[in-house]
């Protein structure tokens, strides 16, 4: 739909795979930080209650 591919990530991590979880979270956050703030998927008008 026009979101950069690096912003969305799917992983299958078992509750026993704590190290994989840490690695994935670090990778994803680093990847998203590298992309910078999302400038497109933002509302421009006043928020509706």
């Amino acid at each position: 739909m026009g979101i950069e591919p690096g912003r969305l990530h799917f992983s299958w991590i078992s509750s026993a795979e704590s190290t994989k979880f840490v690695d994935v979270v670090n990778d994803v956050t680093a990847g998203v930080k590298a992309l910078g703030p999302n400038k497109t998927f933002l509302k421009t008008e006043a928020k509706v209650a």
């Binding site: 739909m1 026009g2 990530h9 799917f10 299958w12 497109t40 509302k43 421009t44 509706v48």
Partner: protein, 315 residues
């Protein structure tokens, strides 16, 4: 297709007279041209209100949801596939229905035709494959094949997939149709181009929900857009809210949409909303070899699990 009407009336009258059904759902003439409207016929005397021509694009399966009566329903290819989907999803029982199958040669696109003329169209008549349009100061005859709804031009299931009665001989199915050319074009766009493409596509949307209301799949008692606790999506016409609505609605139709075109037909702004549902239809066909509403025997891909389901997107 015009010849079908006598047969539709004859079958409907018989069903109502014999008490096999409580009502027949079909079409009657609309108050404006090219807009036939659904009607519920409950007595044999009212059967003469029924019509059939190339303006019966609305999907009648939409009117079956949770009904308790015995119903006769007029069904084109796409309606019949949505009836199958309704039965699979427990929205109606097969033995409540007498399906009056109509082999279909496509419906005409009111948006396309209106766009050809600057002033209001007052009369539309058809004979065989010719459509005659009349208004103040003009009269023009068009070839039906040039003004078909986009989904009808690409249709590969014109004949009803289930029926109890049939109003005419089955028609030849269209072969060698490339259904997904427009979708492939969108898929090749970069994320930025896609963003702009959908911005333009949806810029006319007024959030009237006509697409949702015309859709036989959208039968939730409370739609996610109407929910206020929690509020899933903003109710404004902010482009982000509009985009969220259209994408989420399309995803709710994944593996269920039959490309009947009711959403696009209903849209007062002429937005090509089928582009969303068709992408999911294409994915379901490619990933799960699935076409919605073709059989009562198989469960749809989204409520079955197979160990070999594609999962390349999970890293």
């Amino acid at each position: 297709m015009l010849a079908y009407i006598e047969k539709i009336k004859e079958i409907s009258r018989r069903l109502l007279q014999e008490g096999n059904v409580d009502m027949v759902i079909g079409f009657r003439r609309g108050t404006v041209p090219m807009m036939n409207e659904p009607c519920f016929v409950k007595t044999p005397e009212d059967v003469d209100n029924l019509v059939w021509d190339s303006n019966c694009g609305i999907n009648l399966a939409n009117y079956l949801t949770n009904r308790q009566e015995k119903i006769g329903i007029v069904a084109k290819g796409c309606d019949s596939r949505n009836i199958v989907t309704h039965i699979i999803e427990n929205k109606i029982k097969r033995d409540q229905l007498v399906i009056i199958g109509v082999p279909c040669k496509g419906m005409i696109d009111r948006h396309k035709i209106q766009a050809m003329f600057e002033t209001e169209i007052e009369h539309v008549t058809e004979l065989d494959d010719k459509i005659t349009i009349k208004g103040v100061g003009f009269e023009k005859t068009l070839e039906k094949k040039d003004v078909l709804q986009d989904n009808c031009a690409l249709c590969i299931h014109r004949n009803p997939v289930i029926h109890d009665e049939l109003v005419g001989d089955l028609v030849d199915e269209q072969k060698n149709i490339d259904r997904y050319k427009d979708i492939r074009n969108i898929e090749t766009l970069s994320p930025e181009e896609k963003w702009r493409y959908f911005d333009n596509l949806l810029s006319a949307c007024i959030r009237c929900y006509a697409c949702r209301n015309a859709c036989p799949l959208c039968y939730c008692p409370t739609c996610f857009v109407d929910e206020s606790r929690p509020q899933w999506v903003g109710k404004s016409i902010d482009p982000i809210d509009i985009r969220t609505f259209h994408f989420l609605r399309a995803y709710h139709c994944a593996g269920r949409c039959t490309d009947c075109g009711s959403c696009e037909r209903a849209c007062p702004m002429g937005i090509k909303v089928r582009l969303f549902t068709k992408k999911l239809e294409k994915d379901c066909l490619e990933l799960f070899d699935w076409e919605a509403g073709m059989t009562l025997e198989k469960r749809p891909p989204l409520d079955t699990y197979r160990p070999d389901d594609p999962d390349d997107f999970i890293k």
